[in-house]
Symmetry: C2
Subunit: 501 residues, 2 copies
């Protein structure tokens, strides 16, 4: 690759020399060099094909995408701050052993780094395990923090639906020993606030509890050793019909058909407080200690959510399982609902945009003495949200500004580069966002066109007459109005005129 590029660079040198009609001796010398370089390539120069792409499952964000991304981040961060969260950051990779045994069946999706001598490292798979490692390492037993960063999964990407191998997670977690369900309810409130604020359309937040699931598995006759793997199967119910999930349970995972059918009855249930009350009376479930605990807390959660006024978007759903191993209590997942068309009454789920739950054991897995720190948290699936915002923006044909420039420093005549440099320097030093074209003698029309293209609202035009008069001509791009402003008032005038921008 380096050699190939050297050949290309040298070929370009030769081309230029020929074009410039340079000294024939010099050209000959450079041609010789070019031939030598080509020879080094070993003759296969033409065959080597260089692939110009980003790695599979990743993408660049150009200025327009970044403008959209920053809008979404702003809404999310301001919500996290509104709830009093601090912010932390951790390295993009962890010791491999830090991640081992935390993700169940998904562990195969972890990216490892090559062993180049030294520690064995892996890219983080989520922000939750690094958070737990951070708490244990620093002996922190009490924190409310958010963390926005990229995570990595060697999954099969479905990029049009916002599924990537490198993607952002926006996590908010509350760690500490508190009275039951108060932090859990706040996490759901946060999801509700963010999805409402981003105006993504109608949504529902499904809620369940690992203890209810485990109790349900127990009363359905699932052996203890199969709890986690059957839980993984249930987790697929949002993508597969029950019949397929059932056959996975029975066929691949060796569950008895009777147990599977009993599970099948429960996982069809969803509702609100009424369903919780009913299950608290369920002759089998109510006898199971775990399930009873989970249902009791679920009832408390719904009471708090009623005080927050958000129960209409919450659905207690026994089919919600969530794949990750580390959850121990409440789990939840927000999905967007989409009207296929206006005549269809049933709304269709278009995928998860947020999820989370309680994981009271994870920090203890890192603590040398196994000391636990109860945690509950939520992760916003920002990539899906980007996809939706991007599609919407494309449909709307709204013009997105990608810079915040307030004024272009322009000139109407030639030989005014020095004056433009002096003026723009004054503006920068006064905190004004200013640009100029990087040309000695740009045409006024090109300068005005640049403003039109990029949405710059003002042009500060220096000309010989204006210099003599000690003024600058300020042009308002939208109205084409032009006013002479005294040089010493220019900064103030620009500030006033762009204060609404």
């Amino acid at each position: 690759m380096a050699e190939e590029a050297a050949v290309r660079a040298q070929a370009e040198t030769v081309r230029k020399l020929k074009q410039d009609k340079a000294d024939p001796d010099e050209i000959a010398k450079e041609v010789t060099k070019l031939l030598e370089l080509k020879a080094q390539l070993g003759g296969d120069e033409g065959k080597q094909k260089f692939v110009l792409k980003t790695p599979k499952g990743t993408r660049d964000f150009g200025p327009k995408e970044m403008a959209i991304r920053e809008r979404a981040f702003k809404a999310i961060i301001s919500c996290f701050k509104r709830h009093g969260a601090e912010v932390i950051d951790t390295p993009v990779f962890e010791l491999k052993e830090t991640l081992t045994g935390k993700y169940g069946e998904d562990s195969k999706l972890i990216y490892d780094l090559k062993d180049q001598g030294g520690e064995l490292l892996s890219l983080r798979y989520d922000l939750t395990v690094p958070f737990a490692r951070y708490l244990a390492m620093n002996k922190i037993t009490n924190i409310k923090r958010y963390h926005i960063a990229k995570v990595y999964r060697r999954d099969n990407p479905a990029m049009t639906r916002g599924r990537y191998r490198e993607f952002y997670q926006c996590d908010f977690d509350i760690a500490g020993q508190f009275d039951p369900m108060i932090p859990d309810a706040e996490c759901l409130k946060i999801v509700h606030e963010i999805l409402s604020d981003l105006q993504l359309g109608d949504f529902v937040i499904k809620v369940n509890d690992r203890r209810i699931l485990d109790g349900m598995f127990a009363v359905c006759g699932v052996p203890d050793s199969k709890f986690r793997t059957i839980c993984s199967s249930v987790d697929k119910l949002d993508k597969m019909p029950w019949e397929e999930v059932r056959s996975e349970m029975v066929g691949e995972k060796g569950l008895s058909p009777e147990a599977a059918d009993r599970i099948g009855e429960y996982v069809q249930l969803h509702g609100g407080l009424d369903l919780i009350e009913r299950l608290l009376q369920d002759p089998k479930l109510s006898q199971n200690k775990l399930a009873k605990e989970g249902l009791g807390d679920m009832k408390l959660l719904f009471e708090y959510l009623t005080l927050f006024g958000i129960t209409e978007k919450i659905s207690f759903d026994l089919s919600l399982a969530r794949g990750l191993d580390y959850y121990t209590g409440v789990i939840f997942e927000a999905v967007l609902l989409q009207q296929d068309n206006e005549h269809v009454e049933e709304s269709v789920s278009v995928g998860s945009v947020a999820g989370g739950g309680r994981y009271d054991g994870l920090v203890g897995m890192f603590d040398p003495k196994g000391r636990k720190v109860p945690c509950v948290g939520v992760s916003i699936g920002i990539e899906r949200i980007f996809s939706i915002l991007e599609q919407r923006l494309e449909a709307s044909e709204e013009k997105v500004r990608t810079t915040e420039t307030q004024v272009l420093v322009a000139s109407a005549q030639k030989k005014l580069l020095e004056e433009r440099l002096k003026l723009i320097s004054e503006l920068w030093d006064a905190g004004i966002k200013a640009e100029m074209l990087y040309k000695k003698n740009p045409k006024l029309l090109n300068q005005l066109q640049y403003c039109e293209d990029t949405g710059i609202p003002l042009v500060a035009i220096v000309g010989e007459q204006e210099l003599k008069d000690g003024v600058v001509k300020l042009r308002i791009v939208a109205t084409r109005e032009e006013v002479n402003v005294r040089r010493e008032s220019l900064v103030e005038e620009i500030r006033i005129r762009t204060s609404q921008c």
Copy 2:
């Protein structure tokens, strides 16, 4: 690790059951389970030592460090935006071949990912090569953008001096075919603005040009093939005395002692316009085409920097080489100067905090037809800057707030959890940053103490009497003043009282 954690979790279950004086049968069952799990561990449970740390050369940023980091980012981003830059982002890893052959001797420091099937990947080493790849891939010939992201180098970390294996770079680059030295001068202006704004103390920006270096090597009798490697040696002059660099050139790199001595004379020179003029008259250098071009442009650069009023911080320095292969024109590096103590007149360099230069060939290395896009850019070495800001903050004992919470929702009596939840929900929905303690019946003193600890300026206290009267008691933490505010005016009152915060 997973097994070990399971043992710990199970041991905890047993401990709890015993503590709760649970059913002896149940305890016995759980103890059996614990023994089984221990057996699975194969007896070496006690010996397995889990290392609780971040990977070598990396660190976590806690809330306090993040507050400092965000302050520095804010200054840098607002400068980049002031100069009209757009923002982009690229993946943290690239195809391995994208990075190959771009970094010269430093390529050995690149982190590779493990081959897990599929593409061969490496972590980015800087933001410049991904930027060039992005331009070529998207056929962009004209852009001014910034990019703030982490990069990775398997270097020997010196963490106390802000040298890490994972670190942020803050890059600003201008790509496009423009009139000479106008974008180059803007890059230097940006460095000057940022370092002044961050008040890091006195600094100097060293400037040189690769063409001047190459011309100098030519007239000193360095063979063409040794230009890059001798350039790497010169680059070490900021860390090593000339004698050591000379012996590397002669001993390791096979340069003739005469050539080395000639180089030694040039690389001691530094100054301003006067030095440029002198070298333009230098009988040897002035005969070299490259050197003459470089010196001509350097003169132009100094003219523009004079218009920007920043030449007093700029030093044309022939010893500046910069390690990376891809530079083709102007190069520069900003170093902080530190007075060792007040009686010592000579100031000592404490290391580079920004650097950059022109790289006109890099994009062409990615373009299938070798089409060039001239570029110039600057990278702010934010980690060193963090180190300095952190040390300074520690010395000053200034208290840094790590949240923006405006008000704590508190209660004076018991059984008011529901009222607190209702009130805080109203405040959140109105955009007020509010917290409450996650306890059913917290003591007022603890609630007030929390505000003292975290810097929350206001407390909204609900009590039975206040509820009857339709008011909330608002306490100003700093003055201990308390006022009753009608519930419907509370949001407005909080906004007014925290508008200066």
